[in-house]
Symmetry: C2
Subunit: 424 residues, 2 copies
């Protein structure tokens, strides 16, 4: 007899829910659907030939080493190469004792949560924000508080206001989670002055910063903005970087940079979590840097993704009805589209699927259910150029029909605050 053992679940597990987004994504898998819903790099951006040369050499010359268990901290050569690269490109100081290899940045978020979050701890996030971050925090029973974004990213004044309000109610947050550059989902970038202001605000309240930076190497226009970790003088920032967008996600190879104290604790936590990140992928990533393939290849990725972003933004202008607005990301993988308030993108989703086009509904990115009702995230890196144009065209028609259907039905629709992205 098959029994249920759900009564034995831990309290944290009882709160875990299968992601709504995940269920929606299943609907978008049909081949006739043009999907802007995923968050995948384009497979044409994978340096397959380089990888093949590397794996051949590694297996021929270093097989016993690259197939064996490795240390929990990660392959030393890879960490050294990353330290040099972070110094050169990002102005981030750090050596071996500050760098931990993780099984994707998602593991960085999990380890960080395991080491810092007690049940009911408050984590500050952006609204909207990356679901994988909030899922990790929630899995350790954190409470999320969100601060709105505008075109320049998180708004420091609103952050400060929120934190002091919490403080007055006897609640203090341990940390803030930020994707400062080409944010997922909104595509916006926090300016350097705002980054400094945010660091000042959190320093006053003795908070930590998790800087999740998967996209900054995918810049198409404009100037680099210094990372928060480079601006950080107190080791208050834990920086997360990844090979998923500059090499390939299939190796699950990422890294984090933190103070020695924090790095050591995260390493102990990682040891009981998966012993070590897959050694093979780490050596591939190392060779990819050591053979100077990475910089050359990033230029190719940038060129491809810039073209795709341009096609998408041009198609928005051409096919979207009046009243629809969108962010203009200078890099990364996503644009964020806001429809007139009468449209509910969740209601509209069925129509989109019926018209063979898909997106992620905005509400999915608001852990507090505080917004996103008339927004959606669109990925421009994965579809082919032709499908981007055609998909936006289809979506334009769907939005137009939905605006028509909802005109007059403005009951209960909240007004938008000026400049705030998809705010309520």
């Amino acid at each position: 007899m098959v029994q249920s053992f759900s009564h034995l679940f831990s309290e944290r597990a009882r709160g875990m829910r299968a992601s709504e987004i995940r269920e929606l994504l299943k609907l978008t898998q049909r081949p006739e659907i043009i999907s802007f819903a995923g968050g995948l790099p384009n497979p044409e951006a994978f340096p397959i030939k380089d990888i093949k040369n590397i794996t051949d050499d590694l297996l021929t010359k270093r097989g016993p080493q690259v197939l064996q268990y490795g240390t929990t901290e990660g392959v030393t050569e890879l960490r050294e190469a990353l330290a040099a690269r972070l110094k050169r490109d990002k102005g981030i100081d750090g050596d071996l004792k500050n760098i931990l290899i993780t099984s994707g940045s998602q593991q960085g978020l999990d380890l960080f949560s395991k080491v810092f979050i007690d049940p009911h701890d408050i984590i500050i996030v952006s609204a909207p924000t990356y679901l994988g971050g909030t899922n990790a925090f929630a899995s350790y029973q954190a409470q999320m508080e969100s601060v709105p974004l505008d075109e320049q990213g998180m708004i420091p004044d609103l952050l400060e206001e929120r934190l002091w309000k919490l403080h007055r109610h006897g609640k203090n947050s341990k940390m803030i989670y930020i994707i400062p550059t080409f944010q997922n989902p909104a595509g916006v970038t926090i300016s350097e002055s705002r980054r400094k202001k945010i660091l000042d605000v959190v320093a006053n309240l003795d908070m930590l910063v998790v800087e999740d930076d998967p996209y900054s190497e995918l810049r198409f226009d404009g100037d680099d903005v210094r990372s928060m970790k480079a601006l950080d003088k107190e080791d208050r920032v834990i920086y997360l970087g990844t090979f998923s967008k500059i090499l390939a996600p299939g190796f699950r190879c990422a890294w984090l940079v933190a103070s020695e104290e924090i790095c050591q604790k995260l390493t102990v936590a990682k040891q009981s979590t998966d012993l070590c990140t897959n050694t093979f992928g780490q050596y591939v990533a190392y060779e990819y840097i050591a053979r100077k393939m990475v910089d050359r290849h990033i230029l190719l990725i940038r060129k491809m993704y810039k073209r795709k972003r341009d096609i998408m933004l041009k198609a928005f202008a051409r096919y979207f009805p009046k009243g629809v607005t969108w962010t203009k990301p200078e890099g990364g993988m996503f644009a964020w589209v806001t429809t007139p308030p009468a449209v509910d993108t969740k209601v509209m989703f069925d129509q989109a699927i019926a018209n063979n086009v898909a997106y992620v509904v905005g509400t999915a990115f608001y852990p507090m259910a505080s917004g996103g009702r008339n927004s959606m995230r669109l990925n421009f890196t994965h579809p082919t150029d032709e499908k981007i144009e055609e998909g936006v065209k289809r979506l334009g028609s769907v939005i137009e029909a939905e605006i028509g259907a909802t005109s007059g039905k403005r009951r209960g629709i909240q007004r938008q605050r000026n400049g705030i992205i998809s705010g309520v």
Copy 2:
């Protein structure tokens, strides 16, 4: 100014300690030392040529797929192949909905802990037991209670006695963690009748069983014993298997089998932990099964490890002084050696290192510090044949000297209970 943020650590993180074993292992890395301390497969057992053929083909024919993100559950083809193999070889029933790919079995232990352990929950383990298991449980603030082993593994009567004693004190355990076959560290195997008895005992108390089975395919002598999962009629057993010992650990590719309900919850937990196991390694593992390389290769590994075990056991008989006893593992990777009670293997460790031989002290495998003082774990799979012989010879001299040095100093030494492994 670099600050300390240890005051922000979670309660669970405050209890995390760097593994003592890990610090000891660092001492054993010097090339002149013959180390029996690690738990590594022999790199000569890695099917490097097969892997090279597979990776070449995969990158040539399926590059975009094997380098992309995968589903959290794992690559479908791999899970199907595992289901068929588990049915054929182990009599374990299960299909896609029962199998989750994990980033090493260690991740299975972590996910299981995350989903089932609340702080202060009681987990039953063997004494001695695998440190990676107890570390995972402890990282979620479990309490461990241990039950002694003898040459046939965990003793069901003592398990029952312990559980009812806890029960009378109002304490109930949710689960028991067992490595039934070629246990790490003791090398012993639980007989089928004992497995059934253990399942009866835990069913009466509505407990779950985590069956960790990394070694059963490495049998050198004797007959297979049915896995607890195959004997389980109530989906009470979560079964963990791994490619680390039959392919290579460097891919961090393992699997678990559980009821659909439990599998779903573990999948949700995994999603926020690392999104998915590295896709590349999963496809390599799949091809390794699909091309029928695995069964042929396991025969080679068995042959190699049997030879090494034989050399080690023969050397024990030849070089160890009177009063030293050891287990006779029919497979796996470890033997467990018990010296006369006057010897403290931790005290002796410095002498061993000075004589260029290393082991893991027995106490490391007793989370409750309840035993192992005059025991040690020896790995026979990693050293070369010559080094096994020479290392045991050195160790024999070290033990002999230690017995001489401690003779007469028997104050405070506890008597051994008959048959119990390294009991106190």
